[in-house]
Symmetry: C2
Subunit: 205 residues, 2 copies
DNA sequence: GCGGAATTCAGGTGATCGCCTGATACTTCC
DNA sequence: GGAAGTATCAGGCGATCACCTGAATTCCGC
């Protein structure tokens, strides 16, 4: 068992919680995404618990990279806050377990145990998030690409160039995004997208 | 001792950590800001540990409101991520202790104990944050006001109206903000401000 | 097959932005 | 008492945005 979480306090709690059940042995803790990849590649643990928000690389990136080096490792993502879209992405990417930090300690331990024994489990609160009447806005692939280009500081024209389409196409997507989010400027569009969990302001550029 | 944190898992870890030292007794845990205020008003605990990001009311709001009802309570803010500006605001508001979740468990317990015994303590990692060579951009009061107006979806003109100044004044402030943040559009300006901790995308409007 | 959604692009128009120079007035600080 | 910084506003100009109608293509589901 390897624990990757940038909050030392959370790592400690997790180790404490898992130590109570004597089935697992924590072989290490790391506090950033890059070290997590390195450590998993080296130690090839049975199981790794990943935070989503970490410096260096986020939980999804760590999972995708680390499983190539250690295919036998089973992965649980433990995150504080997540949008339904993020969780869906993780599940589609083939992660073995997901739970949120607003789950109770026993729920978290149970998810980890289930995942270690070969199952794929979505924790209670994460399931609630997925089932919740989705107030999230449905955004298509191209729209998301436009959104991210604009978030990187592109104008319509330069975004068009970087996406290899006409400026008018970018204009179309942006206009439909603004209608979906009910805003009237690119500026508020980006903020709304951040609120909706479609953009992560800390990991742009 | 009352614990307010929207992540049940963190509350559990905190209770566990504090239970080891037998000086404190956890009298309750709540998972949102409103309940925290209600509970502190009712129980008047010696000490309360507040998360910053909570539904209902954030740690600062809980602190300001709760101390009016329970002036004897000592408050520790325990947060995952915070900008230097946020921490400074909290300290200026008179909070008794601040620590981050990337502090170790023993550091957190130590801060809580010190605060309970009457001192005012800033945890190690929070101090590091404050001392860090401030890459943050210095923004004046008016500039911040303009920033917030724009974040609410105002155009230059409507922002000017809501601030009671000429559109040209707003234009001036926005231009100087864009120079400070080295961006070239209002859209990226807002994202940069979010990254810098000047705007909270979840609490706009 | 056919409706519908997604993606692509065009033309056009008025509003707005981004940025420039320059001015006045008020603090603050040495 | 000047220097520096902030806040206020003006005029102007080209680039860009916001929004409209319209249309061709592809792909998916019923």
């Amino acid at each position: 068992m390897l624990i990757a979480d940038d909050h030392a306090f959370v790592s400690w709690g997790l180790a404490k919680a898992l130590a109570a059940s004597d089935e697992v042995e924590v072989v290490g803790t790391v506090t950033n995404g890059i070290n997590a990849i390195v450590e998993i590649r080296k130690a090839k643990p049975d199981c790794a618990i990943l935070d989503y928000n970490m410096p260096g690389a986020n939980g999804l990136e760590v999972f995708l990279e680390a499983k190539r080096w250690s295919p036998g490792t089973r992965f649980v993502l433990l995150t504080g806050t997540a949008s339904p879209a993020t969780i869906r992405t993780l599940v589609e990417a083939g992660i073995h377990g997901v739970c949120l930090k607003d789950d109770t300690e026993s729920e978290v331990v149970e998810v980890v145990r289930q995942v270690c024994s070969g199952r794929t489990v979505i924790g209670a609160s994460a399931q609630r998030l997925l089932k919740a009447p989705s107030e999230s806005v449905a955004v298509t692939d191209r729209e998301l690409a436009v959104l991210q280009a604009l978030a990187r500081g592109h104008t319509n024209a330069s975004a068009a160039e970087s996406l290899g389409v006409s400026p008018k196409t970018v204009d179309s997507h942006r206009t439909s995004l603004m209608r979906k989010f009910a805003v009237n400027s690119t500026a508020s569009l980006l903020l709304a997208a951040v609120r909706a969990g479609l953009l992560d302001p800390t990991s742009i550029r």
